[in-house]
């Protein structure tokens, strides 16, 4: 039988430049999942957009054919007239985009947006369409389909919006679903649930799926066939099982190597009691008040952090892990003095071993300047953390200028030395940031943070915007620098597996509370809290024999009211953080 979709020798290029996609071929049979894997710039998105012919204006399909076989005969999508193409889109071939926050129109109700697909393809009366949409909403897991139908996108969370997008793609019962990084913007636990949903839907409807992703862990959980792309070319293609367990191409091997790994079990180590703490957060809380929508109501309070106690020993790495909105970034900002904590909380900082602690939030101007030299931050987004108008040199020496250290020649020399330290060349000093790749930029921003020779570095999700292989390199670099310069890190991440390799201690946060705190080995091999268990279970791994345990995920990622009795709480009545064994604290009722 002819495959549902057959792409042959596809080449796509922009303008007069070289092709960005070269000689890509793959087949998708009905009911099958094909994963297009690659890093950013590998041409995977362009390839799948070419199938729907929604390429940017400047792009042209240069050679190749895309055959779509819907059972009634095959169509050549490259030359199909625009009108026929329109009948196909959404109806036979549907697409889910990466950014759930931006792919729904903010002005229309969710129900109408989803039903539009049915109206466009002219099959349904309004009542019938609504009925179908409601059924679809129920299917994708909305607890109250009626309400979802008449709500606006901003009322839903990211995961729910992605569900709405899936509903939109599924409602016309397409034969082929193209999902372009459908879960990249979501938290790990949400990602696991969305992936589970997509798999279930596929099993029920028998549609084929092209899954575009950079994450081999997702591939292992979802796909039967894999196409690995790199710089517009197919590196390796074939069935998922042999490809993931015995990769033949060095690039595939490198990708699998780079995926974050769960550390091997280790005996719980006795944490030495003495500690030379560089940073100490004592019962730090932060409450924001949000003006209520109605003027006469009292403003509602949002508890970003509640009673956070964290201790960072000198030369060690303390990681805070949690989903978006868990308060991890707030905690880091408070630690750096960018925001004051609520009454009663204090942040202590010791610049050198045995020095008197200074209170970060009670500093005068000179003490603050001194503190800023000691504590620096590495930001999340490498594309916005370097000013596009400044040469690398100017960006690098800016901290020295602010603190008035050295003369021009010395500053320059130091900038060159730092660039070499992070693995870049001296000649890059005179360049501009937009010429660099994401990984190079992140190196630059690490180098900038090191210019003042700080003793504490706060890394706010430094790798979450990077490709897996680059992430690996950056983590290695951070470890190397830590050991070389005796730095202490406060490392913020949403990814437990990333943290596992670099951290000495991990605090898992959820809704402003630290729910479990231990060394990464303990956390992975003896997790106690349901949320930690969910985080670990949700972690997709490039191992086809370790599927995501959705039940664990659902249980832990739910609201605290649904946790097992031992851990359950509602509202403000959280149980205390209890030490279970040395160096392992869990928030539970004893």
């Amino acid at each position: 039988m002819a495959p549902l979709l057959s792409v042959k020798d596809l080449s796509i290029g922009f303008g007069k430049d070289d092709s960005v996609v070269r000689d890509v071929s793959f087949d998708v049979a009905a009911g099958e999942t094909l994963a297009l894997v690659g890093e950013s710039g590998s041409g995977k998105t362009v390839t799948c957009r070419a199938v729907l012919r929604i390429l940017p204006k400047a792009a042209q399909i240069r050679t190749g054919s895309i055959q779509f076989n819907d059972g009634a005969g095959s169509k050549e999508l490259v030359h199909l007239p625009e009108r026929d193409m329109r009948d196909l889109r959404g109806n036979q071939i549907a697409m889910i985009f990466q950014e759930p926050m931006r792919s729904l129109s903010p002005l229309h109700r969710i129900g109408n947006q989803v039903a539009e697909v049915l109206w466009l393809h002219g099959r349904k009366s309004e009542a019938e369409a609504k009925k179908e949409v409601l059924a679809c909403f129920e299917r994708v897991g909305f607890p109250d389909p009626e309400r979802t139908y008449s709500s606006y996108p901003f009322e839903l969370s990211g995961g729910m919006r992605q569900r709405a997008m899936i509903a939109m793609a599924m409602v016309a019962k397409p034969k082929l679903l193209i999902a372009d990084e459908p879960t990249t913007a979501l938290d790990v636990t949400t990602q696991a649930q969305v992936l589970g949903l997509m798999k279930e839907l596929q099993r029920d409807t028998g549609m084929a799926m092209i899954l575009v992703t950079h994450d081999l862990g997702v591939v292992a959980n979802m796909a039967e066939k894999v196409v690995v792309m790199h710089k517009g070319r197919v590196m390796e293609a074939g069935a998922a099982e042999p490809l993931l367990s015995a990769p033949a191409h060095p690039y595939t091997k490198a990708l699998i190597e780079a995926a974050p790994k769960i550390p091997a079990a280790a005996a719980p180590t006795d944490v030495p009691a003495q500690q030379d703490l560089i940073l100490e957060l004592n019962s730090v809380s932060k409450t924001y008040s949000m003006r209520a929508g109605k003027g006469w109501k009292a403003p509602s309070l949002i508890y970003a952090c509640r009673g956070v106690d964290l201790h960072l020993p000198r030369g060690k790495t303390l990681a805070i892990v949690g989903e978006s909105g868990s308060g991890k970034t707030t905690a880091a900002r408070i630690a750096l003095g960018a925001e004051p904590p609520d009454q009663g909380g204090e942040v202590l900082f010791r610049a050198t071993a045995g020095a008197d602690p200074i209170e970060v939030h009670e500093m005068d101007r000179t003490a603050r300047t001194a503190f800023q030299r000691e504590a620096q931050m590495v930001f999340q987004d490498p594309y916005s953390s370097l000013s596009p108008r400044m040469r690398i040199l100017d960006t690098m020496i800016e901290p020295l200028e602010i603190h008035d250290i050295g003369d021009r020649a010395e500053r320059r020399e130091k900038a060159g030395a730092m660039l070499q330290m992070v693995g870049l060349g001296q000649d890059m000093l005179m360049r501009y940031p937009h010429a660099f790749s994401g990984g190079q930029r992140q190196r630059l921003s690490i180098a900038r943070a090191l210019m003042l020779d700080p003793s504490l570095l706060v890394c706010d999700e430094p790798t979450s915007a990077l490709d897996v292989s680059v992430q690996e390199q950056i983590l290695r670099l951070l470890e190397q620098i830590r050991d070389q310069k005796q730095l202490s890190y406060l490392f913020i991440s949403h990814d437990l597996a990333v943290v596992a390799r670099i951290a000495d201690e991990v605090a898992v946060m959820r809704r402003g509370l630290v729910v479990e705190q231990a060394s990464p080995e303990t956390l992975f091999h003896n997790p106690q809290h349901p949320y930690t268990k969910a985080l670990i279970a949700a972690q997709p791994e490039p191992d086809i024999h370790r599927p995501i345990n959705l039940q664990l995920v659902a249980q832990g990622a739910g609201s605290p009211e649904d946790w097992p009795e031992h851990f359950r709480f509602s509202g403000f009545e959280a149980p205390p953080l209890v030490p279970l064994e040395p160096g392992h604290k869990v928030r539970c009722h004893v």
């Binding site: 390796e236 074939g238 191409h249 800023q372 360049r431 501009y432």
Partner: protein, 384 residues
Amino acid sequence: MTQLPDGRFVDDAPYDPQASLLELERKDLDAPNWVLIWRKFKTHKLGLISGAFLLICYLLLPVVGFIAPYGPNQRMSEHLYSPPQSINFFHEGEFIGPFIYPMTSEADLETFQWVFKPDYDTPLKLEFFCEAKGYNIAGLIPSNTHLFCAPEGATLFLWGSDRLGRDIFSRILYGAQLSLTVGLIGISVSFVLGIFFGSVAGYFGGKIDWVINRVIEVLRSLPELPLWLALSAAVPSNWSPVAVFFIISVILGILDWPGLARSVRAKFLSLREEEYVRAAEMMGASSGRVIRKHLIPNFMSHLIASATLSIPAMILGETALSFLGLGLRAPAVSWGVMLNDAQNLASIEIYPWTAIPMLPIVVIVLAFNFFGDGLRDSLDPYQQ
């Protein structure tokens, strides 16, 4: 491509696992910002042509006296409302170089109008690099050489003459000196005010922001034309034309800044969230430094584009004021002042060429709009 026994395809082109870290990903973007903007602007043909045209116009301003055959207020009392004359090359099928037919004026005693008749028998050649009425180059160096002037005993009114017998072509050139610069001075005033208030409001926020925003709203709610009228009516009538001109441009600038301040403020608010600004703050940079080093350079190009787009409004504003007789006054010459003569519908009907000064206004305003549009399109050169 090789196929493995289990059906897998593997690329056999050599693969370099350690793609060099030292290699630039986007070699094409390795240039300062203005180079990137220029590269993109070059592809915007209409903007490029308009930009070149405007550049030439401004470069010619100091030397208009050389191009104009007459002075701005030079009267030929014999030739009131003379129609445009054409420059010819062939007389009775014979090429004799650029020449004109002299005009003779005659009073028509039935309609009480001057009737102008070209004398087709005596072609008079144009004179080049001739000496005529004196003028100052750039207002400083006296000179009396003109590019071309009328032959002895004839007149040269390329675009006709007005009710006092002054050459409209020469007056348009002299008028450009004021009409084109009024926009620049006005925009500088509004630029300074707009950047100052906009950045203060956007950076500090809170109460200051509130106050500045309310002031902007009040200023914007005032009806523009009456306000112009009131302000320019307040200019003492005994001031010299130059002082009046200066005050008019300042007035235009003062009324224009709120728009600019708003866009500056909006840009500030979005740029403040950029991580490089937060990074600078965390390093301990003072607010002044953050504004100077990070914020202003990053939105300057946007400002220049929006300023370019608001120069036409200034030019039109000056024209409107002068047209109503409240802006510049004779003996100053500007396009608005010239159009003042064309207020009378009857005179436009009989002497249509008195409305010719509208032409340069339209052309200049369009050119600024195209130019500004091209600039705006090329401001974000990073994505391609």
